[in-house]
């Protein structure tokens, strides 16, 4: 737990330092606030490092395994879905995403998965497109 606080602080310090460097070319007036915030964030990260060092021995790792593989699978499929939307359009990608996501997760019986995917897509079409005329991403397919 405390080791990751340390890592978070390091990431934040690098992030703020990059922001300060990037802001150097801005006009004086435009760079004041970003610089103030970045500096504050660096100071706060120092406090976080101090805290993480202090509690280092007191707190043992709880042994809870971070579900990295699942996290990667879930986020990767969402990312693929977003890319698909750009090329195929919203409705066809949504159908593909929902079917494959639920099959991957073994969410329900095959027939239930198909019905849910079709009805979600259909309901969105009815509400967003037909009734409320809300813009929906279009692509090669529907």
């Amino acid at each position: 737990m405390k080791k990751r606080d340390f890592l978070i602080a390091v990431v934040l310090i690098i992030f703020s330092a990059a922001a300060i460097i990037a802001a150097q070319e801005y006009p004086q007036e435009s760079r004041v606030m970003p610089n103030v915030y970045s500096a504050l964030l660096i100071i706060l990260s120092m406090f976080l490092i101090k805290r993480s060092l202090k509690n280092n021995e007191a707190e043992k790792e709880t042994g809870e395994h971070a579900p990295y593989r699942k996290f990667f699978m879930v986020t990767a499929s969402i990312l693929l879905y977003i890319i698909l939307v750009r090329f195929l359009g919203f409705y066809s990608s949504t159908l593909i995403f929902m079917l494959s996501f639920m099959f991957m997760m073994k969410a329900a019986k095959t027939i239930t998965v198909i019905i849910i995917s079709l009805s979600t897509t259909g309901l969105i079409y009815t509400f967003f497109d037909l009734m409320l005329h809300i813009p929906i991403p279009r692509g090669l397919l529907f």
Partner: protein
């Protein structure tokens, strides 16, 4: 005020508005009752739907979801000891013991009535206080708006997280990314990485939907449980409270409603804090405090009246000053701005008929969830068993469509993805995502008003202390910063001595 209310009444009492109200209430109930789906998520996912509606109808929908989702959390809190939203954590203390004693229906009846009374009292407060505050806000100049934004930020950061430091880090991180976009004073683009989509800054709604909806979808997809709710949920006793129940709990309900409303108006403190405070107050005032935690209906009444009373209260600073007190009202402000309604005194002057329609619809939303809750609570508990693996992809799909529809921009869908992952990681590592959203709204306001004030005062800070209104806000800020610090120090002293 009354002529605006009359116009609003004519609008709200149409079959069309009623249908929207009913759908919003029903959806809010389910979202609130399902653990893992929050009020913020419900309102955020509904905003894209409002694009296709006129602003009044859209606000009726958002208001209905807000009110009923806060109430909905109590159903699972009582029956399963799993609060549907944070707001109902204190409800489990006495609600679940009541279920164990076979009084689940009675507990839901009390919670429904308390939520209803809390909601109504706070809406009355909103109706009375907001126009007054709007009048004061008319006298605000840049320095006052700057200080109000700082006040909002300071108090939000101090209470929104378990740890003071973590809250501050989230808040300052939010402030830093809020500087993205064109500097409106010099016209110089900051941190936009050559992307035109970032010229206006980070769009708030995709960020919000990512932090509060997509992150939850990722979370429930990853969690090992196939269904959030495993046990069977049902109850068999009568739901409608008896006169005896009411005479026992009404004082608590009224007291808690007042507490909840006041907590709601204070920026930063939200529904869960309100319910904890009034739960403690109810126990202190009780003649038999030892019965609390063992199934005392007063405990349920206290917690539920207070959390629903926050709804109306929290809209006071949001509508009059544009200061979001919690994450839900931040979403609300996002929803208003989309329709060109900038929070501020103008909502009570130029757009008064829209604003009063919203306030009036809050009354009706409270009545609506009361009726639905009392009559159909038995059937609503069945929906709670929806498997999470079905919910997760549906939330993803709605998040994508929602963040796209705001500007017809696929770039925003990419932002949604980034903020979704950020929100998931933050929650996992004990950083609350709420301060980021509030900073995204308040940061640009604070910077712009500060620079405007400094131009006005020729670069001097002295006038901030010479204007009575701004001095008053400075005092509030100092108090709000010192109080949590004092509490923290006291806590660490107790820890050391104990």
């Amino acid at each position: 005020m009354f002529d605006h209310l009359a116009i609003a009444l004519g609008y709200v009492l149409t079959p069309h508005s009623f249908l929207v109200l009913f759908l919003g209430t029903a959806a809010g109930l389910v979202i609130g009752a399902l653990p893992g789906l929050s009020s913020t998520m419900g309102v955020a996912l509904a905003i894209p739907l409002t694009f296709g509606m006129d602003p009044k109808t859209g606000l009726i929908l958002l208001g209905a979801i807000y009110c009923s989702s806060v109430y909905g959390g109590s159903i699972t809190a009582i029956l399963l000891r799993t609060p549907g939203t944070d707001a109902s954590i204190a409800t489990t203390f006495d609600g679940f013991p009541m279920t164990q004693q076979g009084l689940g229906g009675k507990a839901i009846g009390i919670s429904t009535t308390a939520s209803f009374i809390g909601g109504i009292i706070s809406t009355v407060a909103l109706l009375l206080i907001a126009p007054l505050l709007a009048k004061i806000a008319l006298k605000f100049g840049p320095p006052e708006y700057f200080l109000v934004a700082i006040f909002g930020l300071s108090i939000i950061i101090s209470v929104s997280s378990n740890s003071y430091l973590n809250g501050l880090i989230s808040g300052v991180f939010g402030l830093l990314i809020a500087t993205v976009g064109m500097d409106s004073f010099t016209g110089y683009p900051r941190f936009i990485f050559n992307s035109d989509s970032l010229l206006d800054g980070i769009p708030i709604l995709p960020a919000l939907i990512g932090l509060f909806s997509l992150s939850q979808a990722i979370k429930i997809a990853i969690s090992q449980e196939s269904s959030i709710v495993k046990k069977d949920v049902s109850f068999s006793d009568r739901v409608l409270p008896t006169l005896a129940d009411m005479s026992r709990t009404w004082v608590t309900m009224i007291r808690s409603s007042v507490i909840g409303t006041i907590v709601g108006i204070m920026p930063g403190a939200g529904t869960s804090i309100a319910s904890f405070i009034s739960y403690n107050e109810a126990r202190r005032a009780s003649k038999e405090p030892e019965s609390f935690g063992k199934g005392n209906p007063e405990g349920v009444a206290a917690s539920e009246a207070a959390n629903n009373a926050v709804t109306g209260g929290s809209l006071v600073p949001a509508l009059t000053l544009g200061i979001p007190g919690n994450a839900v009202t931040a979403v609300f402000i996002g929803g208003l701005t989309i329709h060109g309604l900038i929070p501020g005194p103008n909502l009570f002057i130029k757009y008064a008929d829209i604003t009063y329609t919203l306030i009036l619809s809050l009354f009706l939303a409270n009545i609506m969830f009361f009726v639905i809750g009392i009559a159909f609570a038995k059937y609503f508990v069945k929906v709670i068993k929806t498997p999470t693996r079905i919910l997760a992809p549906v939330i993803c799909v709605l998040s994508v469509i929602g963040s796209f529809a705001i500007r017809n921009n696929l770039f925003d869908v990419g932002l949604l993805f980034g903020f979704g992952i950020l929100g998931y990681l933050m929650e996992r590592y004990d950083f609350s995502p709420a301060p980021i959203v509030l900073a995204l709204i308040l940061g640009p306001m604070a910077e712009a008003e500060l620079r405007r004030s400094l131009i006005l005062f020729h670069g001097s800070f002295v006038p901030f202390f010479q204007r009575p209104l701004s001095l008053a806000i400075i005092v509030l800020i100092v108090l709000s910063v010192l109080f949590p610090l004092y509490k923290e120090i006291k806590k660490s002293r107790i820890r050391k001595s104990g």
